[in-house]
């Protein structure tokens, strides 16, 4: 793995994203609209609904965001990339980009939710460490699945069919962690769930790095 190459691909991704401002704006607009809709329909939102809604918005906004990350480029440009990059550099850069993108998306959703319907989180370290690990897991799954669906001519239906069941276990863990962090339920063994989340991330990351070289020249 070459760090400089990874950085180059990362910057390339970022500049492509920046050039397509409408797509970027579309996703943030989606998040803002949904948050506003929720604010208008639930007048008084309780912490339980708050945690569930935040992850559901995150799930669908993230799915939309990642679908295009592998689909925004033509198949022919990939032929060019084959000659330039190592597959592992490529996937690590994509993953890092998706992770940071999803994190900023999450931050924006949190800010909107905070503005409109309050911020009930009590245990900040637990909430943010759990969320970071969870978003890492989500971005690994989404990146991997977007590679598969990109080779299938950018089939975004396939992407959601494959991605949604795979992120379910991560989301279930995340819901539990965030429910504890807003003190909805007390669980002394919650750190076990955080470690479990980290273990899942590691397994999925390893699998993706091992499998990507076989997949990307399709």
């Amino acid at each position: 793995m070459n760090i400089i190459k990874v950085k180059d691909i990362f910057i390339k991704e970022l500049s492509i994203e920046y050039r397509q401002k409408f797509a970027l704006g579309g996703i943030f607009l989606f998040a803002a609209t949904v948050v506003f809709l929720i604010f208008k329909s639930f007048n008084n939102i309780n912490p339980r609904e708050w945690t569930i809604l935040i992850w559901i918005i995150m799930l669908f906004a993230g799915l939309n965001a990642v679908v295009k990350s592998f689909l925004q480029e033509k198949k022919e440009t990939y032929l060019y990339y084959y000659t330039l990059f190592d597959p592992i550099d490529m996937i690590v850069a994509k993953l890092a980009y998706n992770f940071i993108f999803l994190c900023s998306l999450f931050a924006i959703i949190l800010i909107f939710m905070g503005l409109f319907s309050g911020f009930p989180v009590k245990d900040w370290t637990l909430f943010f460490s759990g969320s970071a690990l969870g978003i890492l897991g989500i971005s690994i799954v989404f990146t991997f699945v977007s590679v598969i669906s990109a080779s299938e001519n950018g089939n975004s239906t396939l992407m959601s069919i494959l991605a949604l069941p795979l992120v379910l276990p991560i989301l279930l863990l995340l819901l539990k962690i965030s429910a504890v962090s807003v003190r909805l339920l007390t669980d002394t063994a919650i750190m076990e769930d955080v470690w479990l989340l980290m273990g899942v991330d590691c397994i999925l990351l390893g699998a993706m790095i091992l499998l990507f070289p076989a997949l990307w020249r399709l």
Binding site: L168, P169, G199, L204
Partner: protein
């Protein structure tokens, strides 16, 4: 794939499991006792209704009410009205050890045909005269504390569990299905890895076929499980973690089937589905083994215990449970091999057309 012996073996073992698993009787048990409450110092006539018991044919019926390891009370009289019904007469002492106001008593029955069987918390005795545990209980009240020699049941039998009753036999079919599913998934995984390493298209066919049969077993597992749940937990679907996690696992593998159906290009489909199945299997491990362990569940073997230890699976159950897994694996392999042969033929025709 040569030879037919393992197919015959699979069928024979399955027949053995079907016949044995359905004909071996359950051990005797007590389904109900009446009354459920009594007062200390009174005469208690306890009506019991047994299951699979032989009160009438047995000569030496004995019964005790047991409080703890040293305090037990022998029945004065064992009135048998039929094979499954009897009335037991006890003289409850007025002195009970301990300060507790309501004492749960365990009913123990023993005869030479059925062996010994137990109903925990059969009677709750409201104690009117409590004695401090440090004072010595007058001798002569709990005089038959020594239970003496128990009989062994004469024939082979499965354990009796109160709510499970005969459905304990479902262990051979429902639980064994999950084990067989995992073995078939591992075979599918092996072929997926093999395909990615060698690029031999035949491995893709094998991997897909084994996965398909495993998914079929998984669907059977969910249906049979919800039937079993209906008659033990009284609902088709519960919020039980193990159940919901396996449902998620099945969704992941159904997505695999969708993926296989989506692509028309053979090589691309093979690579995609092989990588996805490896990824899915790895995502499955925490789902099925780790998360349910961390949470309490209605299923046995949760909350830290190993799944198949001690109480849940006794030796007579093992006698049919392990063969059942083997039989289901062999039958699954047979079905998978039919699919493999079909796919190979199709491939050959496809190639010859081009």
């Amino acid at each position: 794939m040569k030879g037919i012996w393992w197919k015959i073996l699979g069928v024979l073992i399955f027949i053995y499991v079907l016949v044995g698993g359905l004909t071996v009787p359950l051990k005797s048990g007590i389904t109900s006792t009446d009354p459920g409450n009594a007062l200390s110092g009174e005469h208690l006539a306890l009506k019991i209704h047994g299951y699979n018991s032989h009160f009438y044919s047995a000569k030496k019926n004995r019964a005790w009410l047991k409080l703890d390891s040293i305090h037990a009370l022998r029945a004065l009289n064992f009135e048998v009205s039929s094979e499954n019904d009897a009335v037991l007469h006890f003289d409850l002492p007025s002195y009970f050890p301990g300060k507790v106001k309501a004492q749960p008593l365990t009913l123990i029955l023993d005869n030479e045909v059925d062996g010994v069987f137990v109903q925990p918390n059969a009677v709750f005795v409201s104690v009117t005269d409590t004695v401090h545990s440090d004072t010595i209980i007058p001798s002569g009240i709990w005089k038959s504390a020594d239970l003496g020699h128990f009989h062994e049941a004469k024939s082979l039998h499965f354990p009796y569990r109160n709510i499970l009753n005969e459905t304990i036999r479902n262990t051979f079919f429902h639980v064994a299905l999950w084990f067989a599913m995992f073995v078939l998934l591992i075979v599918g995984l092996y072929h997926a890895i093999k395909y990615l390493m060698t690029g031999d298209f035949d491995h893709d066919i094998q991997s897909a076929s084994f996965n398909r049969i495993a998914i079929m077993y998984g669907v059977f597992g969910i249906i049979t499980g919800s039937i079993w749940a209906k008659y033990t937990w009284n609902t088709f679907w519960t919020t039980d973690v193990k159940l919901n996690m396996t449902a998620v696992a099945m969704l992941i593998y159904l997505a695999y089937l969708v993926l296989r159906g989506s692509s028309s290009d053979h090589d691309r489909r093979a690579k995609m589905s092989a990588s996805y199945s490896i990824f899915a299997f790895l995502a499955l491990i925490p789902l099925v083994f780790v998360i349910p362990r961390l949470t309490d569940s209605l299923h046995p073997g949760n909350g830290g215990n190993p799944a198949l230890g001690g109480e849940d699976l006794d030796n007579t159950l093992r006698l049919f449970f392990y063969p059942s897994i083997i039989a289901l694996i062999l039958l699954g392999t047979w079905m998978a091999s039919l699919l493999i042969r079909y796919q190979r033929l199709k491939e050959k025709i496809f190639m010859s057309n081009q």
